[in-house]
């Protein structure tokens, strides 16, 4: 290993162009951009202008075999994530993969296994984990301050997207090209944070509604109901068609309630355990003493830069990964389970789920998919900048 990681970005569309320019600008200590890879000549032309010094590849296998990179950042359409990650790790490269880890849990699991076998650093871009509000909620719950969780409800409907967005990449919003809709593209951040904070459910029931708001093949509106081992329940509501949307996570437990909204963490922490009051009170509907507090972080979250720095530090200095690929499986489990539930008439899917049943039903959808949509190409939208729309919005 050189003292500075030689990094390449694979896929320099909307997201990858931002990663590439960011690394190229030299702000990630211990990492510099040596190459990019894309199928589209106009993107490589953009890279020639904007990323001087970075070698340009149009073939991913050549890039991986080139010997010129130590690590790759994968930002291609979702269905290729795990395949490229496996090839890269087997060639000795470290991998930071855009979310989701794949569209199929079955394949993502294989990739994680390859990560284990090769010992390479394998992370997933769950950049919203860098937000201090989510981190603090997680800490409070892990410290038992909320007691035993009873319910969590996340209304995350501020992923508003226009038809122009769906037309901006011809792979978008098709079963073959993208592999899913809002649950696969936008909501993975929230599905991840939800389990990171509240734990994994034992059962998922979902309603996934197709093309409610847009001309797309996939769901742009979804509701998940979950169940947990302790009997707690959860509800997750998302769409890309509401404006202004809402981002509000509420978690209630035997020791109180947390609400994350408007960029603040609001907490109601009971001075007595509600469960004790429930069975000892001689009132029907008592007031239970509590402490209310609001907290907002002073600093902006480190976002994508934070994950890139953590990835570099993990490779160079063994820093623990904030978003290890392993964790990407939990998020993907829930979106795969949600699709399976919806495709089976919104019946409950027990976890661990039957991945082969999911794969077969996805195969059917992909076989019937237009694959590449008959849409105006707007790839000139490449900005090489992180967009506000990828950050936590309240």
């Amino acid at each position: 290993m050189n003292s500075s990681i030689r990094a390449a970005v694979i896929g320099i569309g909307n997201m990858g162009s931002a990663h590439a320019r960011f690394i190229h600008s030299g702000v990630i200590e211990g990492m510099h951009l040596t190459a990019v890879c894309d199928l589209l000549p106009e993107r490589l032309a953009w890279a020639e202008r904007e990323l001087p010094g970075a070698r340009r590849f149009s073939d991913v296998h050549s890039l991986i075999a080139s010997g010129e990179v130590d690590a790759v950042i994968i930002a291609v359409p979702h269905p290729m994530h795990s395949l490229i990650a496996m090839e890269a790790m087997r060639a000795g490269l470290h991998v930071l993969c855009e979310k989701p880890l794949d569209i199929r849990l079955s394949l993502a699991k294989k990739a994680v296994q390859v990560g284990r076998e090769t010992g390479k650093t394998f992370a997933v871009m769950l950049n919203q984990r860098t937000n201090p509000i989510f981190q603090r909620a997680r800490t409070l719950i892990r410290e038992g301050r909320l007691g035993e969780i009873k319910r969590s409800v996340w209304i995350i409907t501020n992923w508003y997207r226009t038809q122009h967005y769906y037309d901006s990449g011809d792979w978008r919003a098709t079963w073959r090209g993208e592999g899913g809709g809002v649950l696969l593209n936008q909501a993975p951040h929230n599905l991840d944070l939800w389990q990171w904070i509240c734990g994994m459910p034992t059962e998922v029931t979902a309603r996934c509604d197709t093309a409610v708001y847009h001309h797309v093949e996939v769901e742009d509106d979804a509701t998940l109901l979950t169940r947990y081992a302790n009997g707690a329940t959860g509800c997750f509501i998302t769409s890309t068609g509401e404006y202004p949307g809402t981002n509000r996570l509420e978690i209630s437990g035997t020791r109180g309630k947390l609400v994350l909204e408007d960029g603040r963490l609001k907490s109601w922490l009971l001075k007595e355990d509600e469960k004790v009051v429930r069975f000892s009170s001689t009132q029907s509907s008592p007031e239970i003493p509590l402490d209310y507090a609001e907290w907002a972080p002073e600093e902006a979250p480190a976002a994508h830069a934070g994950i890139l720095r953590n990835f570099a530090n993990a490779i160079l200095h063994g820093e623990p990964l904030l978003s290890p690929a392993q964790d990407g499986l939990n998020e993907l489990t829930r979106s795969n389970a949600a699709y399976l539930s919806a495709w089976q008439g919104s019946t409950p899917v027990r976890l661990p789920m039957d991945e082969s049943a999911f794969d077969r039903l996805l195969d059917d959808r992909q076989a019937a998919s237009a694959g590449v949509r008959d849409a105006r190409r707007a790839e000139n939208e490449i900005s090489g900048q992180y967009s506000d729309r990828w950050q936590v919005k309240w």
Copy 2:
């Protein structure tokens, strides 16, 4: 008709004792209390002390046939509501019935039909309709200010109750004695307001969880997912086991969003129709100009007193009913459909629903029910006062 309505309260437990004392105090113009009826001697003893001048009946048929009353307020356990209402209207009496109108939609419909045939004034105690916040939300939507509704989500989990509450009446929280749990006892207010503001769905899917928090026969936690004719969806989450609970109704439409919480109506009203932006914008995730406003009423809602006055004015002066019994059917349709869905493995129930299927499955539950629970009787809780726990809490 006398110039002042001779009113009787049937059932003077927690709720009925409050109605009786309130009418007895003379604050409902045009209505005075001439009688009460209850099976329990200790309650009649209470009435003798607290309600001088009101005749006391232990038999409801004698009261109805007495010729001494023009109108009855029914506050007995839910499974008897419609039967008593029908008997009273057929005897020529006006009826104000506590919610829900019955536990069975099939029976409530018959009662509404009797109301129609007899021409008597027939209202249901949906006292939360008097709250100006709900009234204003309804007006905004009816005026089209929100455009076409896309989604509504009501988290109404601040119906917190202790075990003591369930033990306070031995009929409570049994299938035979009460006929249901939180959906039948507490949430009817919200189920009613939800349809009053957002309209009736075409389909209900529900999860009703039994005895999650309390020693009861029925559900104390429920989640409903609904679908509407225009493709909109809804979600309704309630329990009696969370503290501090939440009361937050969010409604999103093509022209913006309303949130009712913390005693305020918050509105985001778009200056352009989102649907037009969705298909004409050349941005992926544009900002749409909007007006934000918060509104809180200056006066406290009229609550139960408002419904009692409206009932009296309807009888005496033909004032339109704020909560006609007919409207109680819509609320009951949703709770009956929710139970049916839950009992059929949380499968969707189309509306209008199969009432006989519901009745058969409820019969099964009632046959297996303890009926009267083996609980300490705490009927001395009769306060003769309206409790804060019956009002809108935020």
